[in-house]
C-alpha cells in the first residue's frame, strides 16, 4: 500500500534526478560538442517535465499528501519534503512548460552554438537545470529552510540566465535589478517565516500549521509574505524588474520565467495565507483585491505602449498576475466573511487562471522567440507580414493572443468568467462597501480584458499581418519542427483547457479540499458539457457548444457559399482608391495605440519629440520629419530612482569617516574610549 500511496513523491524524485542529469550532461556541451546541450540536456529536461506532470497529476487525482525527510541541513533540522495536491498542481504547471521548452529548446539554442550570437553553452544548460530544480524543490519543501534555499537558488539561476548574453548592457542592468529585488523580496519572505517560526516553535511547516497567531501577528506575517512573494510575482508597484528581465533572457527562458517562476510567487501566497497561517481574514482580501486590480489595469496600459514584442508580453504578465490576485482577493474576502463555497470558487478561478496564464504566456514567448530566431527583430515596428512567411507560427501565436485576450472558447476566457462570477456574488456580503467595491473591481477587470484585446490586436496585427517593414523580416522562413512542436503543445492545451473546463475543475477539487475543506460540487452537476459554478440557474457556460457552433458555421459557409464558386481573383487593395500602397503607409504600433494614449494620458510619463527639417529656399517646406516617443513607468521615476539616489547620497556623505588623516582616526578611537569609560564608570 505504501508504495502506491508514496508514488507521487517517488515520481517527483525521478523528476529531480532527471533535472540534475540534464544539468550534469550540459557540462560536457563545450564548443566542440554542442549536441550534449541540444539533445542530452533537453532530453533529460523532457523526462523531468514528464515525471513532474506524472507526480502532480497523481497527487491531484488521488488527493494524496506524502511527506519525507532527509538527514541534511542543520544538525537539529532535517530537510522536510512533502507533496500535496497544491504542490502537485504547480508541479503539473511547471512540468508542462518544461516539456514544451524541452521540445522547443534544441533547435532554438542552436543560435548560441555558433554564429554572431555564440556563447559558451554549458552555463545555459546548467543554470536552466538549476532553475527548474529550484522550482521543483521549493514546491516540495516542507520547512522554511529548504524552501528559502531553493527559492533563492531559483532566483540566482534566473539571474545567470538573464545575464547569459552579457555583452549587452541592457542584460547586465536588467539582471542586476532582477537579482536585487529578488534578494530583497526573499529577505521579506524570511521575515514572514520568522514570525511563523517564532509562534510555531520551529521551522517546519507542520509546526507552523499548528501555530496559534493573534490576528495582529497573523496579519503581519501575511503582509510580509504578500510583499515578498508579490515582488517575485511582479505585482504593482514591485514589478519594475519584470519588464526589464524577461525580454533580455533567451526566449525559452522567458517562457519559463513568465510562465512558471512568477507563479511561484502565487504559490507562496496561497501556501502561506491559506495553509500555514490559516483562517484567512477579509481585510487581507481587500488588500489583495486592490493591489490586483491596480496591477491588472496598469499592467495592460503599460503593455499597450510597448513596441518591443517581449517587453509587451512581460507587461501582460503583470496584468495577468493582477487578475490572479483579484481572484485570490475575492476568495479571501468571501472566506473571511464565512462564505466557504464562494471563497472556494474564487480560489479555483485564481488557480485556473494561474495555469492558463502559464500556458498561453509560455506559448506567446515561444512565438516571440521563433520570430526573433528567424528575423532577429525585437521591435514590432520592424516586423509585419510574417503570416505569409511563417504561417504555422502565426497560427499558434494567434491562438495565444485569443487566449490571453479572454475570448471564448479559449482557456483565458473560462478563468476570467469564473472570476466575474465570483465578483457577481458580492450581494451575499453584508458590508455595503464591499458590495460596491467588488463590482467596480469587476468592471475594471472588464476594462482590462478589452484593453488586452486591443493590445493583442496590435501585437498580432503589426507583427504578423500587413506588409513586412524591414528586409530581414521579408526574408524570414518557418522555424524548425521542434520549435513548432513546443508551441503546438501549449496551443493545443490552451484550446483543451478552454473547451473542457469542468474536467479541470474536478481535478482541482483536492486542492480546495486541502486548503478550505470544500469543493465545487455544482460546477459539473449538469455533466461535462455544462459549466455551472454556482447553480445552473445563476450562470452556465458550455464551451463545447460554442466550439461546435463555430465549426458548424464554417461548414455551412463552405457548403452553401464557397462550393462551386470560382477561385477568388487577386487584385490591388482598393483602399478608397488611394494609389499604390507601400509598407510605410501602414499603421505602426505607436500609431495604433495613439488613441488610447490620448484617452488615458497621465498614466505614463510620455515625452514626444518631433524634429522637422525645413528646406532652404524662398518658400520653406518640411523635407523630413522625425517623430520619437518615450513612455516611462512612473513607479520607476517616483519610487525606485529616489531610493537609489538616497542610498548613494548617504554613501557619499559618509565618506568623511575615511578622510585619510591619521589624526581623525586617532580621535575616533580616543573619543570612543572616553565615551565608553564614561558609560561604565
Amino acid at each position: 500500500m505504501s508504495a502506491m500511496t508514496r508514488a507521487p513523491l517517488y515520481l517527483a524524485y525521478v523528476a529531480l534526478a532527471c533535472t540534475l542529469l540534464s544539468g550534469a550532461v550540459s557540462v560536457l556541451a563545450v564548443r566542440r560538442h554542442p549536441d550534449f546541450l541540444h539533445f542530452g540536456s533537453f532530453f533529460f529536461l523532457f523526462l523531468s517535465g514528464a515525471a513532474s506532470i506524472g507526480a502532480g497529476v497523481w497527487a491531484l487525482l488521488a488527493g494524496l499528501t506524502v511527506s519525507d525527510r532527509f538527514e541534511l541541513g542543520l544538525p537539529w533540522l532535517d530537510w522536510h519534503l512533502r507533496i500535496d495536491p497544491l504542490s502537485g498542481f504547480f508541479l503539473l504547471l511547471l512540468g508542462t512548460l518544461a516539456l514544451a521548452i524541452s521540445l522547443y529548446g534544441p533547435s532554438y539554442t542552436r543560435q548560441f552554438a555558433r554564429g554572431p550570437a555564440a556563447q559558451p553553452l554549458p552555463p545555459l544548460g546548467i543554470f536552466t537545470a538549476l532553475f527548474v530544480l529550484g522550482m521543483q524543490m521549493l514546491l516540495l519543501a516542507n520547512d522554511a529552510l529548504v524552501f528559502m534555499i531553493f527559492w533563492e537558488m531559483m532566483s540566482l539561476a534566473g539571474y545567470f540566465l538573464v545575464v547569459y548574453q552579457h555583452q549587452h548592457t541592457a542584460n547586465r542592468q536588467a539582471a542586476f535589478l532582477y537579482l536585487l529585488l529578488a534578494h530583497v523580496g526573499a529577505l521579506v519572505i524570511l521575515l514572514a517565516f520568522g514570525v511563523l517560526a517564532a509562534f510555531g516553535g520551529g521551522l517546519t511547516f507542520d509546526q507552523m500549521r499548528v501555530a496559534h497567531l493573534s490576528p495582529l501577528w497573523a496579519t503581519l506575517a501575511f503582509a510580509f509574505a504578500f510583499i515578498g512573494f508579490g515582488t517575485k510575482a511582479g505585482m504593482v508597484p514591485l514589478h519594475v524588474w519584470l519588464p526589464e528581465a524577461h525580454p533580455v533572457a533567451p526566449s525559452h527562458i522567458s517562457a519559463l520565467m513568465s510562465g512558471a517562476m512568477i507563479k511561484m510567487g502565487i504559490y507562496g501566497i496561497v501556501r502561506l495565507s491559506y495553509d500555514l497561517i490559516g483562517n484567512v481574514r477579509w481585510e487581507w482580501g481587500m488588500a489583495v483585491l486592490i493591489i490586483g486590480t491596480a496591477s491588472s489595469v496598469l499592467g495592460v496600459l503599460y503593455a499597450l505602449m510597448q513596441h518591443d514584442m517581449k517587453r509587451l508580453l512581460a507587461y501582460h504578465s503583470i496584468e495577468n498576475i493582477g487578475i490572479i490576485l483579484m481572484g485570490l482577493g475575492l476568495s479571501m474576502i468571501f472566506l473571511g466573511n464565512g462564505h466557504i463555497m464562494l471563497g472556494t470558487l474564487g480560489l479555483v478561478a485564481a488557480l485556473y487562471h494561474t495555469l492558463n496564464h502559464a500556458l498561453f504566456k509560455g506559448l506567446l514567448f515561444l512565438g516571440a522567440g521563433a520570430v526573433d530566431y528567424r528575423t532577429h527583430a525585437h521591435d514590432l515596428d520592424q516586423m509585419g507580414g510574417l503570416i505569409h512567411r511563417m504561417p504555422i507560427t502565426a497560427l499558434f501565436f494567434l491562438v495565444g493572443c485569443v487566449a490571453i485576450s479572454a475570448l471564448p472558447p479559449f482557456n483565458g476566457f473560462v478563468s476570467e468568467w469564473l472570476t466575474f462570477q465570483t465578483a457577481l456574488q458580492a450581494p451575499a456580503l453584508h458590508d455595503g462597501v464591499l458590495r460596491t467595491i467588488i463590482p467596480i473591481a469587476a468592471a475594471l477587470l472588464a476594462l482590462t480584458g478589452a484593453l488586452a484585446a486591443a493590445c493583442f490586436v496590435k501585437a498580432f496585427g503589426i507583427a504578423f499581418l500587413g506588409k513586412p517593414r524591414s528586409r530581414s523580416v521579408g526574408r524570414a522562413r518557418e522555424v524548425p519542427a521542434g520549435m513548432l512542436a513546443g508551441m503546438g503543445l501549449l496551443g493545443t492545451l490552451c484550446l483543451l483547457l478552454g473547451v473542457f473546463p469542468t474536467t479541470m475543475i474536478k481535478l482541482m477539487a483536492p486542492i480546495t479540499q486541502l486548503l478550505v475543506r470544500d469543493e465545487l460540487p455544482s460546477a459539473a452537476a449538469q455533466g461535462w458539457l455544462w459549466l455551472t459554478p454556482i447553480s445552473s440557474d445563476v450562470a452556465s457556460y458550455s464551451a463545447p457548444c460554442v466550439l461546435i457552433a463555430i465549426v458548424v458555421v464554417f461548414a455551412l459557409g463552405y457548403f452553401f457559399l464557397k462550393r462551386g464558386t470560382a477561385a477568388p481573383r487577386r487584385a490591388y487593395a482598393w483602399d478608397c482608391g488611394f494609389g499604390h500602397l507601400t509598407q510605410r503607409m501602414q499603421y505602426t504600433s505607436t500609431a495604433f495605440s495613439q488613441p488610447i494614449r490620448r484617452v488615458f494620458a497621465g498614466i505614463w510619463k510620455v515625452d514626444e519629440h518631433i524634429e522637422t527639417l525645413a528646406s532652404k529656399g524662398t518658400i520653406p517646406h518640411v523635407t523630413s520629419l522625425h517623430y520619437s516617443l518615450y513612455t516611462q513607468d512612473w513607479s520607476w521615476l517616483k519610487c525606485y530612482l529616489p531610493i537609489g539616489r538616497l542610498v548613494l547620497a548617504a554613501a557619499n556623505r559618509i565618506g568623511f569617516i575615511q578622510t585619510g588623516n591619521i589624526h581623525t582616526y586617532l580621535k575616533f578611537s580616543f573619543v570612543t574610549l572616553i565615551v565608553f569609560l564614561w558609560i561604565v564608570s
Binding site: 505569409h388 479572454a406 450562470a539 460554442v546 463555430i550 487577386r570 483602399d575 503607409m585 499603421y587
Partner: protein, 317 residues
C-alpha cells in the same frame, strides 16, 4: 425527453427567426429614417436584396490577403450567430440560453470585434489600421460600461443567465427601480456605440474622418462582405432585443403553446419597431461627434452604469 426535443427545436427556430429578422429591422430602420429626413425610402426588403446580390458576386481579394482574412467573416458570423442564439426573443426557458450567459455574450462580441480588427490590419492599408485602432479604443471603453449596466441587472435578478433574468423581471412585475433607469440609459448609449451608429460612427459614409467600423471592412467584397454586413445587422438586433428583454419583457412567451409564441412574436416585433423609431429620432437630431469626444460619451455611459450599481446597492437592498 419529448419536451426536451421540442424545447431544442423551438430554440433552433428562434435562432433562425432571429437572424432572419435582423435585415428586416435594418430595412425598417432605413425606411423610417428616410421618411423622417424627407427622402425617398427604399423597400423594407432592400437589405435582403443587397445580401443576396453580394453572395452572388465573384470574390475579389487584395493581393496580400492571408488565410486569416478569408476566415474572419465566418468567425465573425459564427460568434454573432451564437450571441443571437442565446438571447430570448420570443420565449424564455429555452435550452440554448444555457450555452452562454450575458458575460459570454459580451465575450462573443469581443471575439467578433477582435477578428474584424485583425482583418482590418491584414491588408496593410492605412484605413484598415485606423479603423482597427479606433474600434478597439471605443470597445475598450464600451465594454466596462456595458458590464456595469448588466451587472446591475444580474445582481437584481441574482443571475447572469439571460433567460432566467428576463423571467425574473417579468415575474417581478412593474417595479420603479432607479437603477434600471440608469442601466437602461447606459446600455442604450453602449448599444449606439457598439453597433456603430451616429454619433459615434456613421455606417453610411466612407470619409476618412468619420469611419470606424467601415474602415476595417473596406477591403471585403462578395460573400465575405455579405456575412459581415449580416452579422452587423444581427448585432444591432441583439442589442435592441436585450434592451427590450431587460426593461420591457412583457409579452414574451413563458410556455411553449402556439398562442403564447404568437403573442411573443407580435409583442417583440411591436417593441422593436418602436425602439427603431426612437433610434432614428436620436440619429436624426444628433450629429457625428469628433473621435476624441467619444471617450467622454462612453465615460458618461460608464458613469451611468456605476450610478446604477450604486443606487442598486444603496437604495434597493
Amino acid at each position: 425527453m419529448d419536451r426536451q426535443l421540442t424545447a431544442w427545436a423551438l430554440a433552433a427556430a428562434q435562432a433562425l427567426l432571429f437572424i432572419a429578422a435582423a435585415p428586416l429591422l435594418a430595412g425598417w430602420l432605413q425606411r423610417v429614417k428616410c421618411h423622417m429626413q424627407n427622402r425617398a425610402a427604399p423597400a423594407v426588403w432592400q437589405p435582403y436584396r443587397d445580401l443576396l446580390k453580394l453572395t452572388r458576386k465573384k470574390l475579389l481579394l487584395a493581393d496580400n490577403a492571408s488565410w486569416l482574412f478569408r476566415a474572419v467573416p465566418y468567425v465573425v458570423f459564427g460568434a454573432t450567430l451564437l450571441a443571437a442564439a442565446v438571447v430570448p426573443l420570443i420565449a424564455v426557458r429555452l435550452p440554448t440560453a444555457a450555452i452562454a450567459d450575458v458575460i459570454v455574450l459580451v465575450g462573443f462580441f469581443a471575439l467578433a470585434r477582435f477578428f474584424t480588427a485583425l482583418a482590418g490590419l491584414d491588408i496593410g492599408t492605412a484605413f484598415g489600421g485606423m479603423g482597427a485602432s479606433r474600434e478597439m479604443m471605443v470597445a475598450a471603453l464600451a465594454e466596462p460600461a456595458m458590464l456595469m449596466a448588466v451587472f446591475t441587472l444580474s445582481m437584481t435578478a441574482h443571475t447572469t443567465n439571460l433567460s432566467v433574468a428576463t423571467e425574473y423581471i417579468l415575474n417581478a412585475g412593474l417595479v420603479l427601480r432607479p437603477s434600471f433607469l440608469f442601466a437602461l440609459l447606459a446600455l442604450a448609449m453602449v448599444a449606439v456605440a457598439e453597433s456603430s451608429r451616429v454619433p459615434v460612427d456613421n455606417p453610411a459614409t466612407h470619409l476618412e474622418l468619420t469611419m470606424l467600423h467601415e474602415a476595417m471592412i473596406l477591403e471585403y467584397g462578395g460573400r465575405h462582405l455579405a456575412l459581415i454586413e449580416w452579422a452587423t445587422q444581427i448585432k444591432l438586433m441583439i442589442y435592441s432585443v436585450l434592451i427590450v428583454d431587460f426593461f420591457f419583457p412583457w409579452g414574451i412567451a413563458t410556455e411553449f403553446t402556439a398562442m403564447a409564441l404568437a403573442g411573443g412574436i407580435v409583442a417583440v416585433a411591436a417593441k422593436l419597431m418602436g425602439l427603431a423609431v426612437l433610434l432614428v429620432v436620436w440619429e436624426t437630431v444628433m450629429a457625428k461627434m469628433r473621435l476624441f469626444r467619444v471617450p467622454q460619451f462612453l465615460g458618461f455611459a460608464l458613469m451611468l452604469g456605476l450610478l446604477a450599481m450604486l443606487t442598486h446597492v444603496v437604495l434597493e437592498t
